[in-house]
């Protein structure tokens, strides 16, 4: 495996009173596709700029393969960056832009030509080699930026929201291409984004950040299915989330079955958890909308741990492959439960559930999840 291990230890950075990074530590493995995910202003770009060498931390250390790099200027680091605004040199052609790092190192013309051709092929820009950046589309510009950053054969590629300026369709295609490029070159990729779906689809691991801190590091699956905090649960995907108090906790198979009181639902809810929780402790209860079932008839199961609520469809949102329903509960009219229903079969007369229909929403104890609210 090529690439290096990137170790960030206890890094802090403030701008005046604003703490952009607050004691951040993260270890990124060799050849990993690692994403820093968070809303704008969460410190993800600052961390990337510190790794690249454009910014300097107030305290802490950054090392590539256990070798400290903070004392090195950007041009001496084994990392290259793909900028959000592309930062292509407008006075140079695509060819010269990609050849720029090699020309700086005074590589001979023959080697330059061979390498430029190789990387032009990697990003599929063969037709546009002699164009100036102003003649390229956004996606093509971003490809030039990627080729230019890779031609130096860095050990780490830093990507600063590289796709945010592109339209949705193109973004999906480039994302897949980026993943394929990662498979080909095999170096460490550090990818900064505020788009959770981008991060989920390509990353090996994700660090979710907010307010200068890392809240959770894990695989996309872990981050989505087992969010560590209320913020992570809300930021990644969509969810229903309510404050809850633990009423009882009993061992159930290899987990624990909890009964929690959810004031917003005016009802008790059964939920399983891997850890035992103290009776009376306050937690947040969350259930993903796609795990909630919606039907016109009450569910047949009599299992008491199946949480069932009666309600009225307040707002149906049809989007082709699925429908979203905002259901107002009978027991708690001020609370809406979000439900996603996948349309797997052809519907003759359109969606079977319509506005103002009385419906039953239900989910099993295993589909709910308890999170700690660290920010309360």
């Amino acid at each position: 495996m090529k690439g290096v291990e990137v170790t960030v230890k206890r890094v802090s950075r403030s701008y005046g009173d604003f703490k952009a990074l607050d004691d951040v530590s993260v270890g990124i493995q060799k050849g990993e596709f690692f994403s820093l995910l968070g809303p704008s202003g969460c410190g993800k770009t600052t961390l990337l700029r510190i790794i690249a060498g454009f910014d300097y931390p107030d305290s802490g250390s950054v090392a590539f393969d256990a070798k400290d790099i903070l004392s090195l200027p950007p041009e001496k680091r084994q990392s290259n960056t793909v900028f959000q605004t592309y930062a292509l040199f407008p006075h140079l052609t695509v060819y010269e832009n990609i050849a720029f790092p090699l020309r700086l190192r005074r590589v001979d013309a023959k080697t330059i030509d061979a390498k430029v051709q190789e990387y032009v092929r990697l990003v599929q820009l063969e037709e546009h080699v002699y164009k100036k950046p102003s003649m390229l589309s956004g996606g093509q510009k971003q490809r030039v930026a990627i080729a230019r950053a890779l031609i130096n054969e860095p050990s780490v590629l830093l990507l600063d929201e590289p796709l945010s300026a592109l339209d949705a369709k193109l973004r999906q295609n480039l994302l897949i291409e980026l993943d394929q490029i990662h498979d080909k070159v095999g170096i460490t990729f550090i990818y900064v984004t505020h788009d959770q779906s981008e991060a989920l689809s390509v990353s090996d691991r994700i660090a979710v950040m907010n307010k200068g801190k890392i809240l959770q590091i894990g695989s996309p699956y872990e981050i989505y299915e087992a969010p560590a905090t209320r913020f992570v649960a809300q930021f990644i995907g969509e969810t229903n989330i309510f404050s809850a108090t633990v009423l009882s906790c009993e061992p159930y198979e290899d987990e624990y079955m909890l009964c929690v009181d959810v004031p917003a639902l005016k009802e008790k809810v059964y939920v399983t958890d891997a850890e035992a929780q103290q009776v009376g402790s306050s937690l947040d209860f969350t259930v993903r909308p796609e795990k909630v079932r919606i039907s016109l008839n009450p569910p047949r199961s009599t299992n008491k741990t199946l949480n069932t609520f009666k309600g009225v469809v307040d707002e149906p949102v049809y989007s082709g492959f699925q429908s979203k329903f905002y259901v107002k509960l009978e027991t708690a009219a001020e609370t809406q439960v979000k439900v996603f229903k996948q349309h797997t079969a052809f519907l003759e007369d359109g969606p079977d559930i319509e506005w103002k229909d009385t419906v039953y929403v239900s989910w099993t104890a295993g589909d709910g999840y308890l999170v700690k609210d660290t920010e309360r």
Binding site: E75, L104, R105, K132, L136, A149
Partner: protein
């Protein structure tokens, strides 16, 4: 039926109408005098100033007098040296201003000297540089020297004061282009392995070329025609073309020769202006071409894409 003008026709007529006052002004006070100067340079000198109406190339022949040649060469080296020092100083100034949070204040500082007449500012320099002036006084009081240094009435003083006078004209155009420059390009250059100097020379300079050429023209042309500065702070070996012209008009009363020298100044300035126009036009042309091509390309790729699907 009444004839209505199409919008672009109306604009065209309006353009002509609005252009008239300026055209008239330039014809009366610029083109006509220039014509007179050209005409005079090809005439014979009158005995007590003025001209005799007889065609002659004497004025141009007199220009090749070695004593004048020395002045032309001196004018050239003084102008080129001062211009380059101006630009050399103006680049970091413009850079700092573009990066600064107090742009308006810094711009204001640059404009302040223009509130005072330039002659008065030259006299200020005389009082700073002269043998009993500020600098010499200071150095004597500090005990570094015991006799006034000769800081004034030499070519060095001329270059110094010329730089002082024309530095703002180099800073302003450089500031405006550097302000528009995308500094993330410098980050990108560092990231790709360029040192600070390499990044500035290979990435920044090519992208602020229009500012560099404007700064060059704005300083070189007025310095090349300088008259008051060499007269007031220069020595007897600091004469520049501007001084020759004045001497020929007022002392020697050789108007054709003065006109011929003026022609030299005008021609050199014109070369500069055309160079600048050419640069600007080329940039514009390139941009126009690229947007046109991008558009065509996008339309084409759009259709071929559809065709395939």
């Amino acid at each position: 039926m009444k004839k209505f003008l199409k919008p672009h026709e109306r604009e065209h007529i309006l353009g002509t109408v609005y252009g008239w006052p300026m055209g008239l002004w330039f014809t009366l006070f610029f083109t006509v005098p220039l014509g007179i100067i050209i005409l005079y340079s090809f005439l014979k000198r009158g005995l007590y100033g003025g001209v005799e109406w007889e065609f002659s190339l004497t004025a141009y022949r007199q220009m090749f007098n070695p004593s004048f040649g020395k002045v032309v060469l001196r004018t050239l080296w003084i102008s080129i040296l001062s211009t380059f020092i101006c630009i050399f100083l103006a680049i970091p100034c413009g850079y700092a201003m573009a990066k600064s949070k107090h742009q308006t204040f810094l711009l204001f500082l640059i404009i302040i000297p223009f509130w005072t007449n330039s002659l008065i500012r030259v006299y200020a320099w005389i009082s700073i540089l002269s043998t009993e002036g500020f600098i010499n006084n200071l150095l004597i009081r500090m005990g570094i020297i015991n006799q006034g240094l000769k800081l004034i009435y030499n070519n060095g003083a001329v270059v110094l004061v010329l730089i002082y006078m024309y530095l703002p004209f180099a800073i302003l155009p450089l500031f405006t282009t550097i302000d528009k420059f995308d500094f993330s390009l410098l980050d990108a250059a560092h990231d790709l392995g360029a040192t600070k100097l390499e990044a500035i020379v290979k990435v920044m300079f090519p992208n602020i070329r229009s500012g560099l050429s404007t700064a060059f023209i704005f300083t070189f042309i007025p310095i090349f025609g300088a008259y008051a500065v060499p007269l007031l702070v220069g020595g007897k070996d600091s004469t520049m073309i501007g001084n020759i012209i004045v001497d020929q008009v007022s002392k020697t009363r050789n108007w054709p020769l003065a006109s011929a020298f003026s022609m030299v100044l005008t021609l050199i300035s014109l070369v500069g202006v055309f160079w600048m126009l050419y640069n600007g036009k080329r940039e514009q042309h390139l941009q126009k071409k690229t947007t046109q091509q991008t558009l065509e390309h996008n339309i084409k790729s759009h259709h071929t894409h559809r065709g395939k699907a």
